[in-house]
Symmetry: C2
Subunit: 400 residues, 2 copies
C-alpha cells in the first residue's frame, strides 16, 4: 500500500520498524534511516530474523534540511515517521514540506539550548502544511499520544462534559540493578528538578519540583508514588477538550530511584561541567554513564509492567462520574516480541498506529494536528489489535 | 629537655607538631619528617607563624628500615612519634630498636593487603623492646588512646569493679556540603560494610554490618544515631580491665551520610576496579575523590562539635553505678588554634601528651604498652591543660 521512512534507530525506532514489518499489507516498503547506519543495520537484521521482512537502511543527517529533502525526493515515501531527537522536529518538517511527504512524530520540538516543551514552534507550521496539502501528526507516542486519544475517546463516548483529567504514568518495572536509567540521566534529572506545572480554570500554575505527591492505586501494578510534573500533552488537551476545568500529569518514581538520583546530583556526579581529572577535562555525567549499566543491557532483564492512563471526571446524562482509561504493558513480553522493553514499546506501537491512520487516509487532513483532534475510534481499535489493549473502569468519585 | 621526631605530615602530624611547639620546655627540638618534605615544610611554616617556633623538616621513607635507622642514628632523638600510615608501624618499630629510640603511635599495625586490626604483630615486639630498655607506647590517639585512659581512670578511681564499657564516638560536625569525607572514603566504606564485633564473657561476637543501632543522647551534641562497630582498643581493654563482662564500640553516622555512601557504593562509584572510560582505565573511586570536595577544604568550614567518651557500668562500695567520661571538642576552635579541625585535633593532642609521658619519664618502662597499662592520672591532668578537658557525669542505670 505505502512506503514509509522511519528516522531514528534507538529503542523506539526499533519498535516502530518491528511493528511496521508485522503489517506488510499496509507498510509495503520500509526504510530505516539515522545518522549511524550501523544501528539501522542491526535493527534490520533483527527485524528480518523476527518477521522475515527485509527493510532497507540509510544514513541521514536529520539536522541537514537540504540533505534530508534530497533523500526524501529520491525515496518518495508517503510518510516520514520521526522518532529521532526532539531537536530535529523542525528540520524534518521543513524537509517534508519541501519534498511533499506527510510528517509524524512522538515528541514535541525542543530548542537545543533550552529545556522548553512547547508546541508553538510546530503549530507555526499549520498554514504551510495546509497549503502543501500535507498532514503533520504531532506526538503519536503513548504520553503524549495514546493519552490524548484516551481523552478524545472519553469526550466522544463516555462524557457529555469532561471536568478534570489526571494523566498517570507508572513504570513498575524492575531491572534488578540498584540504579540504572533507560535513557539519558540528564532528562531524568531535569524532570525532577524542574517546577511542576498544571492547568486550572484557564491558567497555568507552578509548584516546586516534586512537591505535589500522591499514592495512586493503579490497576495491576498497585500503589505507586506519583509526582505532579509538567508534560507536553497538557498544552493541547487544555485547548481541545471542551469545558475542561483542570488537567494534571503525574509520573511515578520509587523512593529508591529518587534517592539515588539526588545523591548523585548532590555529589556532583550528574554535572555537565567538566572537572580536572589527572590533567584531563571530564564531565562527571559522562563518567557516571560509563559506570552505570549500559541502558541496552536493561531490556532483557527488566521485569514487571507499566500502567499509563487517564483518570477523568465529568458529567454524563446529568450524573457526575469518574473513569480510568488505561493500558498495562509487560516488559518481558515486549522484549520477547520486538527486542525492546515496555518503555520503547509503548511509544513505538502508537507511532506505528498513527502512521497507519495517515496511510489509510483515516486521519489525513492538511494541517498540523494533535492526536485528540482526530477521530479516536480507529486508533483505539488498533491499540487492542497491536499489543496495547486498553480498558475503562469506573472509579468512585473523590471528595473535593 | 628532649628531642622528638614526628613522622607523618597529614592532619594529625600537623596537630602534633603545633602542640609540641607550644611546649618548648619539654619538646626542646622537633623534627617533622615524611615522604613528601614539602608537606612538612608547609606545616613548619604554619607552626612558625602560629607559635614563633622553628621546627626542622626531613624527607624519609618510613617503609625503609635501613634508611630510617640511619636517619634516627644521625638525629639521635629520644622519641619517635609515628603518625604516618598504619602500614608503617612495624618498620618504624624496627628502626627504633636498631637506633635505640623510644617509640609511640596512634593506630595499630595493619598489613597492606588485608584490613585486619590486631595488636598481635606489635605485641610480638614485647621482648625486643624490654631487652633494648626501650618503651613502645601503642595507640596514643583519642580512640584508641584517651578512651583507654578513661577506662584506666575509671578502674583506678570510680569503680571497685567494672562490668561493662560502651565507647561512643560522635562527630556532630557539619561542613555544609551534601557529602564529603575527612579522609579516604574507602576507609568509611570498609567501616560500614564490615561485620560489627564486640566482646562479651570472654568471647568475641559478630553481628551483621550496621545491624546494631541505638540513639544515644550525648552531652552537648545531643541525640545521635550510633552503630556498633569493631574498634581496636577493645582488644587490649578486654584483657586489661579486670572483671570486665562486656565491651562494645559505637560510632555515629547520620542517615544522610549513610545514604550518600550507600548510593555511591550501589552505583559502583566507590569501586577500586578500573572501568574503561574512553579507552582509559580509571578507578571509579579515584574519579569520585576528584569530584568530592578536597578534604583539605573541610577544615575551615566545619562547624559543630565532637563528643567521645566511655559509658561505664560497675560496682563501687557495693552499689551498682554508671558514669560517662567524655570530652567534647569544637571544630572551629581547633581550626583556629592549630589549622586542623577536631578530628585531627582529638588524635594529635593525645599523641603529644603520650610523648610527654615518655619524655618526662612518667610512663617509661621497657616493653610494649597499651595506654590503659600506664598510670592514667598524669595523662588525665594534661588533657585538661592541653585542649581536651574531660568530664565525668553520673547516668541512670538502664534496665537490662
Amino acid at each position: 500500500m505505502s512506503k514509509v521512512i522511519i528516522i531514528g534507530a534507538g529503542g523506539v525506532g526499533n519498535v516502530v520498524a518491528q511493528k511496521c514489518a508485522q503489517l506488510t499489507d499496509i507498510f509495503t516498503e520500509i526504510v530505516l534511516a539515522s545518522r549511524t547506519v550501523s544501528k539501522c543495520d542491526a535493527i534490520a537484521a533483527d527485524v528480518l530474523a523476527k518477521t522475515g521482512v527485509t527493510i532497507r537502511t540509510a544514513a541521514i543527517d536529520a539536522d541537514n534540511v537540504a540533505e534530508t529533502t534530497t533523500f526524501l525526493q529520491a525515496e518518495k515515501p508517503e510518510l516520514l515517521i520521526n522518532v529521532a531527537l526532539p531537536y530535529q522536529d523542525l528540520t524534518l518538517m521543513d524537509a517534508c514540506l519541501a519534498a511533499g511527504v506527510h510528517y509524524m512524530d512522538t515528541a514535541n520540538y525542543e530548542p537545543l539550548d533550552e529545556a522548553k516543551f512547547e508546541y508553538k514552534w510546530q503549530w507555526a507550521y499549520q498554514d504551510r502544511f495546509k497549503e502543501a496539502g500535507l498532514t503533520a501528526l504531532l506526538g503519536s507516542g503513548f504520553d503524549p499520544g495514546v493519552t490524548n486519544v484516551f481523552c478524545a475517546y472519553a469526550q466522544k463516548h463516555l462524557f457529555d462534559e469532561i471536568e478534570t483529567i489526571d494523566i498517570l504514568d507508572a513504570n513498575a518495572g524492575d531491572h534488578g540493578y540498584h540504579f540504572a536509567t533507560n535513557f539519558n540521566p540528564e532528562i531524568n534529572i531535569r524532570e525532577i528538578t524542574a517546577n511542576g506545572r498544571y492547568w486550572e480554570e484557564g491558567e497555568w500554575k507552578e509548584v516546586e519540583p516534586m512537591s505535589v505527591h500522591q499514592v495512586y492505586d493503579f490497576p495491576v501494578v498497585g500503589e505507586q508514588d506519583a509526582y505532579l510534573l509538567y508534560h507536553e500533552e497538557m498544552e493541547s488537551l487544555c485547548q481541545n477538550i471542551k469545558g475542561l476545568k483542570r488537567i494534571r500529569f503525574w509520573m511515578t518514581f520509587s523512593q529508591k530511584y529518587l534517592t539515588h538520583l539526588r545523591v548523585l546530583e548532590n555529589v556532583g556526579m550528574t554535572s555537565i561541567e567538566p572537572i580536572d581529572f589527572q590533567g584531563q577535562q571530564i564531565k562527571p555525567i559522562e563518567f557516571l554513564k560509563a559506570v552505570l549499566p549500559d541502558p541496552a543491557s536493561l531490556g532483557p532483564r527488566t521485569k514487571g509492567k507499566t500502567c499509563i492512563g487517564c483518570d477523568i471526571v465529568g458529567i454524563k446524562d446529568g450524573q457526575k462520574k469518574r473513569v480510568f482509561i488505561y493500558n498495562t504493558c509487560d516488559h518481558q513480553e515486549c522484549y520477547q516480541e520486538v527486542s525492546s522493553q515496555a518503555i520503547s514499546y509503548t511509544t513505538g506501537v502508537p507511532a506505528m498506529i498513527g502512521a497507519q491512520m495517515i496511510l489509510k487516509g483515516l486521519w489525513q487532513e492538511p494541517g498540523v494536528w494533535n492526536m485528540e483532534q482526530r477521530d479516536p475510534d480507529p486508533f483505539m481499535e488498533e491499540l487492542n489489535l497491536r499489543g496495547l489493549p486498553w480498558q475503562v473502569i469506573d472509579l468512585p468519585l473523590q471528595e473535593e
